[in-house]
């Protein structure tokens, strides 16, 4: 890691901290949508359980068999409204698709995201990022094919080996490769989004092509930048889950709620950290290779490319 990478890594975290209002808004919307998604089920559950002594199976512990028995009742309060919960998650996904343009613009410009400017950037880039999402799903198709092929090969190896180990080790290796590919694709599309915002690139296939070139020539730098933050996120969430499962008293609902939401905050923060670091990385690189067009808030005449110098690199 050279000084520039290290600076990007830590300054990305600083950027998330600096504009943490974004983090709290995303967290709040996520929480509110999740609350709405579960409200119907919780009301039905409350009507069934709150005045029943059977609720004690879940107060001072969690009796899995009783939970499954409850879920298996013909009129179980746990079995309906599942599609509703998924619908709210799709709403959140669209919300994040909308928000990403504003987030990246704020990080690239490193300016306080005023609501008007922020939402203008969100709207300005929404359809570009929607197209990128379609491209991403298309790119995922061969990865899905690869996963299917790995499944076939697993069976092939399993059937021809006298030991179970080769097939299992192959499966583990295939899982690592597929996970690696998913991360690489995510970084690729992250950089395409950065380019789309930083350079006001309207043609997404061109943004993808340029992002691919960037990734190709700076693979380890970008991968390491992304992967380090992923590790931090996984470690924190893993520790949180462990604390929740093993450390908290079964009846401490408030502590459990706070801990679970803290995990969410950390998760969202690390994702924003990745985006901020990628934006900074690109900004530094652009500063080295010269200024480029960037999206700026209205009033802007679309046909006029506005050149705005980036701050000098901190190195």
């Amino acid at each position: 890691m050279d000084r520039t990478e290290g600076g990007t890594f830590f300054r990305g975290a600083g950027l998330v901290w600096k504009w943490q209002r974004l983090l709290w808004w995303i967290f709040a919307v996520n929480l509110i949508l999740a609350w709405l998604a579960t409200q119907g089920m919780v009301e039905r559950l409350g009507a069934a359980l709150n005045h029943s002594n059977a609720s004690q199976y879940f107060v001072h512990g969690f009796n899995v068999a009783q939970f499954l028995a409850l879920a298996g009742q013909p009129d179980s309060p746990l079995t309906s409204d599942r599609p509703a919960a998924a619908h709210y998650s799709v709403v959140f996904m669209i919300f994040m698709l909308f928000l990403t343009g504003g987030i990246l613009a704020a990080y690239i410009r490193d300016e306080r995201p005023q609501p008007g400017i922020f939402f203008e950037a969100c709207g300005y880039h929404f359809w570009r990022f929607f197209r990128l999402l379609i491209y991403m799903l298309i790119v995922f198709l061969p990865v899905g094919g690869l996963a299917a092929l790995a499944g076939v090969m697993y069976n092939h190896i399993d059937e021809r080996s006298i030991s179970p180990f080769p097939a299992v080790h192959f499966f583990e290796a295939a899982a690592v490769v597929i996970l690696f590919l998913l991360i690489v694709i995510r970084i690729w599309f992250d950089m395409a989004q950065v380019i789309a915002v930083a350079e006001d690139e309207k043609r997404m296939h061109r943004a993808l092509r340029r992002a691919f070139g960037l990734l190709w020539h700076n693979f380890f730098s970008l991968f390491w930048l992304y992967f380090r933050i992923t590790i931090i996120a996984v470690v924190f969430v893993g520790l949180g889950l462990r604390l929740w499962m093993l450390g908290l008293k079964p009846g401490s609902n408030i502590a459990a709620f706070l801990l679970s939401q803290l995990m969410l905050v950390i998760w969202i923060a690390t994702r924003l950290w990745q985006r901020a670091s990628e934006a900074l990385w690109y900004r530094q690189r652009a500063a080295v290779s010269g200024p480029e067009p960037v999206w700026t808030p209205a009033p802007v005449i679309a046909s006029v490319a506005v050149v705005e110098p980036y701050p000098p690199p901190t190195t």
Partner: protein, 662 residues
């Protein structure tokens, strides 16, 4: 056999975490003389109808067996017998068999070929030659029969007629040469990698029972039935193979062609199975019970060694409690076969003195699946092995009773609420899991149903395993836990090494308890009645309600009239107790016979109701819904809030997963 229920589960066997096993030195498991030898020599444990002598050779690359078999059948039917039926179980693993037809129609218990036929699941047994003393070569006279479904393509049962009848108390000797092709493991038989599980592999004669031959076809939801006798089995296989078998090892001979021949003897059993793999690691131990020492042999597959002490611990605990509660274990050995990764369909199966267990790599201690499956299959040494009921027609007598004793033993060894899952954040007990299994199919079939006549495999599993166990756990509340234990002891001691019926079992319970329990058995065993009681309404109202107002809700005299309405929602009539608590600390207990659809209790007290509950300890496990068994006036939202936390968290993560795509 027990499989899917054990996917679940978990937990701390800390009480047995001390090293209860030892790594055995390499070498054959040669039988040691034991006190049981002398006893056996004086008096046989069973009435020995059959004597099998088998000489088998395994080809571990083709997974085939070539064997000769000599069967001496003693005619104790009281009648001359000329026609004899035989099982050819391995022929079930063919596309047009009754087994496969049923699997295709309504599923199977394991991970078998239930979606598409795969040639690797093909298995067969072919008779190259069949002779009988006095009748000559009968090969051409073999006739496949289909007593259960008239499926002409099914070849799992054949019959043959002798030249002359065998007189009562006389014997006849059959001599057979047969060839087995093992399937890739399915329905507890077959190969996986270098592992061969050889069960139901030889031509086996039917049972003369209830004054007729009983020799059913191989079905998707049924097991086996056979007569007691002796087995002398020679198995030849490569010298690198490690073998476990349901018999005492009498001799091992190293052959010049690189093979070895192991000779086993077993008596007072009704089946013989074996497993071989060069990858096994052997773990030996010993347990001493009321009948002397019992050698414990565990054959572990690669990667599963951490589960070996768990197998041994639960096996010793089971041996101790069965010996203490139900009766002695008379054999001098028990072998546990641990199937390899990917061969789980061979796991969870019982044979006399040999069982197959099941675990996985990195099995958490909090998941007690290895303990449960081992305990369950060991329990079959009693309920199937010795009390040899007809598994085709009375599956509940082996699987159901065994599921009940599984719950009792596991609860005793690992805690009532932690004998299935034992984590700080989640727990479950065996009794609750039995009830859960029963809830999967509450009223689809009576318990007393022929195994292949259940609506589907789910109903078979739920009713045969879960409902029978739950029915017996609920019966404890009628006659007492100790009385039921005593009844099982009496049943075991009276019917071991015989083929009792369901009525033999039920009458034994009635006899020991001294109670007429037909009202219960008719609903729970022979019926499909649904058990569901609820507190329909519970509230208190000022007695002089007209003198109260919104501003002064409390009555001047302080007297309230409390109503509690209890309702029977299902058609299962069962007497229940109702406990009512009041806010002055007083209580009332009512006993309702449950015959009407509902009843109402009324109390005039200077107190208001706090709670009303039917079956306050939730011990009537047949009740399909515990949630409606009680009403608590104050309410407690903590459980709901816990669920809310979990649901919100799950929903948030689903959102984050989708948001990652953007």
């Amino acid at each position: 056999m027990r499989l899917s229920a054990l996917l679940v589960v978990a937990a701390g066997c800390a009480m047995f975490s001390v090293p209860l096993f030892s790594q055995a030195p390499p070498g054959p498991l040669v039988r040691r003389p034991s006190p049981a030898d002398t006893a056996t020599a004086q008096k046989t444990l069973s009435i020995r109808v059959v004597g099998y002598t088998i000489d088998a050779k395994l080809d571990p690359t083709k997974h085939t067996i070539d064997a000769t078999e000599t069967l001496t059948y003693k005619n104790l039917t009281g009648k001359p017998q000329q026609t004899f039926p035989f099982h050819m179980y391995l022929n079930a693993f063919q596309p047009q068999s009754t087994f496969m037809t049923e699997v295709r129609r309504s599923g199977t218990r394991g991970n078998g070929p239930d979606t598409a036929w795969d040639p690797k699941h093909f298995g067969s047994i072919t008779m190259d030659k069949l002779e009988a003393d006095g009748s000559g070569d009968l090969t051409s006279k073999m006739e496949f029969i289909h007593p259960d479904d008239n499926n002409a393509a099914d070849r799992t049962v054949f019959q043959v007629s002798l030249a002359a009848p065998v007189a009562p108390n006389a014997s006849v000797t059959f001599r057979m040469t047969f060839h087995d092709q093992l399937p890739e493991v399915v329905e507890r038989t077959g190969y996986k990698h270098d592992f061969d599980m050889v069960g139901q592999w030889f031509p086996k004669v039917g049972v003369w029972w209830k004054d007729a031959w009983n020799c059913h076809q191989f079905h998707a939801n049924s097991e086996f039935f056979a007569d007691f006798g002796t087995f002398d089995v020679k198995i030849t296989l490569p010298q690198n193979e490690i073998l476990g078998a349901g018999g005492d090892l009498m001799a091992t001979v190293k052959n010049s062609d690189g093979t070895q021949t192991l000779t086993y003897h077993s008596e007072d059993v009704h089946d013989f199975s074996w497993a071989a793999s060069p990858s096994f690691t052997r773990v030996d131990d010993t347990w001493t019970g009321s009948q002397g020492p019992v050698a414990i042999h565990v054959l572990m597959s690669p990667g599963n060694m951490p589960s070996a002490p768990r197998y041994v611990a639960v096996l010793k605990g089971s041996l101790r409690l069965f010996d203490q509660w139900y009766g002695p274990y008379p054999y001098d050995r028990i072998t546990v076969v641990d199937p390899p990764h990917g061969g789980s369909d061979a796991g969870g199966m019982e044979y006399p003195t040999l069982i197959t267990a099941g675990t996985s790599w990195n099995m958490p201690k909090g998941v007690l699946a290895p303990e449960i499956v081992t305990e369950h299959e060991f329990g079959h040494q009693y309920w199937y092995g010795m009390v040899a009921t007809n598994e085709f027609e009375d599956a509940w007598l082996d699987e159901g009773i065994n599921s009940y004793t599984e719950a009792k033993v596991m609860n005793e060894l690992y805690g009532t609420n932690t004998s299935t899952l034992n984590f700080p954040f989640a727990q479950a007990g065996e009794s609750d899991f039995m009830r859960l299994e029963y809830l999967g199919s509450v009223d689809s079939d009576p318990i007393a149903t022929f195994a292949w006549k259940f609506r589907n495999s789910n109903s078979y599993g739920s009713v045969t395993y879960g409902k029978t166990a739950t029915m017996l756990l609920t019966l404890e509340q009628v006659i007492g836990e100790d009385t039921l234990r005593q009844a099982l002891h009496t049943y075991f001691m009276r019917y071991r090494f015989t083929h009792p019926t369901g009525e033999d079992f039920l009458k034994t319970i009635e006899e020991v308890s001294g109670k007429d329990l037909r009202w219960y058995f008719n609903q729970a065993v022979y019926g499909t009645n649904v058990f569901d009681y609820e507190v329909d309404d519970a509230h208190s109202d000022p007695l002089q309600w007209w003198e109260t107002s919104r501003a002064h809700p409390k009555p001047a005299d302080g007297v309230y009239r409390t109503y509690v309405t209890v309702r029977r929602k299902g058609d299962f009539i069962f007497p229940v107790d109702l406990d009512v608590k009041f806010d002055d600390g007083s209580t009332a207990t009512e006993h309702w016979d449950g015959k009407d659809r509902w009843t109402r209790y009324q109390y005039d007290r200077k107190a208001q109701i706090v709670s009303a509950q039917i079956d306050s300890q939730n011990q009537l496990l047949l009740d399909r819904n515990f949630v409606n068994n009680s009403y608590n006036e104050k309410g407690d939202a903590r459980a709901t809030n816990k669920f809310r936390n979990l649901w919100i968290f799950a929903s948030e993560w689903l959102s984050q997963l989708l948001a990652w795509l953007t």
